[in-house]
Amino acid sequence: MKRLQLQRWSSTVLSPRARTSNRLHQHLCSSSLRHQSTVAAVQESTPELKYRLNNAHKRSANLQYPSPPVNAALDSAKLASLHARLYLPSRLPLQTLARTLVDASADSNVDFNNESLATLGHDLLTYYTSEHLLCTYPRLPLSVVFAAMYAYVGPKTLAAMSKEWGVDLATLPGGEVDPGYLQFKRVPPGTVLDAETEQNGKRKNWRKTVTSKVVYDDEFGDPIKGSSNSSVGVPAELARATSVRALMGAIYLHAGRPAAKLFFEQHFLSRSLNISQLFNFSQPARDLTRLCARENFEKPVAKIISETGRLSRHPVFVVGIFSGQDKLGEGAGASLLEARERAALAALKGWYLYSPLNVRVPSSMEEEGASPWNPAHVDLGEVIS
């Protein structure tokens, strides 16, 4: 099979504007330091033979670096195939894609690890997800919003996506490793990961309300952890999640906002999530009564729509909850109590899962030629009992 001229191909892709060094790496580097771009080096090594000779000694020469040098990205088949597989915008160079796969625990130099890209990507992901959730389901309780956020862009989801994309883990990070592997320092076996929460458990016990989570906690409703000591190592899940976030940030920087939004819609929003399964009610009938009182509806009354086998071992009751003449919800159960609870639950979910027609999100105003903005639906919010 004929060898692909990856180096030449990527150098055409790398326009001067898209180079990382122009935007992120402004201070001058002497020739002995690592460079973030290899465009100059590519132009020097024109003869094929010279290039191959250099290539043979490269791996041993790279041992001095904590992560693969930038020019190695052009030789990696893994990186090129990942770029093609994800259908990434052509303005995103392979060098930056390689940088998104270097965790801070592998390379502590902020110019070469993905920490800054991940910060940007995380903000973008949570912004796009939260605006989608709040505009599509404006009445969702906040605890459900937290759970949905975690399901869309939580670390577990991002790690699963990275696995689905075919990103492999490097056993040990180093300069000689193929840059197509995710480089991070592994946690030594036997390390207790949640040691911190045990210490602070007593102090944080009083903070349990959803309101306090809004104020003090992160976008998933979890307590914010202090900066983890990355010299010890990070779990594979966290490293994978960071690399996915960094990729989002890199797309935003190189290809712009529309491409980042498209990437988000294609890879994150397209995952199916049944929001109706995220609810957990303890007193649905009581909550429904309060809701109807708040909204000035008639008091909800449970009525039997149909039943079978009342005196048998397996009866089935179908109970509807009516407010006046209108049916609010319907549920089936093996006892009247169960059917009534399920009906009240269906009615509450019907309230909470209301979705307006023609949903638009605020970031859609960034598109060119967007129609004037209509305010999103806002109402009194969840039932507090």
Partner: protein, 199 residues
């Protein structure tokens, strides 16, 4: 002797796939007589349903015959739609096949609330319950003051000693349970918790 030589016909006729392919056209099973044709037509004659639509209807129309299933929670009830939603005006009252006022209630109809207790009565309820908790239980107080036990629970609380006694009684009862009853009780609680998750 003659009867033993007769080959049983049934397996070959009812299982034609056992026969070689050339005998398909010859086998009796594939032939169709008038009697079997009539039977086939009879099977197809289904009682006409309202949802089938009458054949006299002119023009294109939609036949909507959904299977019996629980309604989707994503289908917001008409009452819960905000007033500016276009669907509120578009939806007509679908004929559910029943009148809500005629359906039987799940619970007995609550007695009309009297709101007859004044603060002095509530003070007395609290005093009685604290003075003799064994005598004045929630239900007895409710009967005496003609209100619901829930109201008694709302206005006062049992004393700490009474709660302790009740806890000991419960422990004594539970200590006599065997593994079967204990597991059945736990399963019931788990099922109850699953209602809230709609499982």
């Amino acid at each position: 002797m003659a009867t033993s030589l007769i080959v049983p016909k049934r397996p070959f006729l009812t299982l034609p796939f056992l026969l070689p392919s050339w005998s398909d056209s010859l086998s009796l099973g594939t032939r169709r007589y008038q009697s079997s044709y009539r039977r086939t037509k009879q099977r197809l004659r289904v009682k006409p349903d309202a949802s089938f639509g009458s054949s006299q209807q002119v023009g294109d129309h939609i036949i909507h015959n959904p299977p019996s299933s629980a309604p989707s929670v994503y289908h917001t009830p008409n009452k819960f739609l905000p007033s500016n939603d276009a669907r509120k005006a578009m939806r007509t009252q679908a004929s559910a096949g029943y009148n809500a006022t005629e359906l039987p209630n799940v619970h007995k109809v609550e007695a009309e609330r009297k709101y007859h207790l004044n603060p002095s009565d509530i003070e007395e309820i609290r005093k009685l319950r604290l003075a003799d908790p064994m005598m004045w239980s929630r239900h007895k107080l409710a009967k005496r003051f003609e209100c619901s036990p829930l109201f008694i629970a709302m206005v006062c609380e049992a004393s700490a000693e009474k709660k302790q006694i009740q806890k000991q009684v419960l422990e004594a009862v539970q200590s006599r349970w065997g593994p079967k009853r204990r597991m059945a009780r736990e399963d019931r609680q788990l099922r109850r918790a699953a209602w809230g998750r709609d499982e």
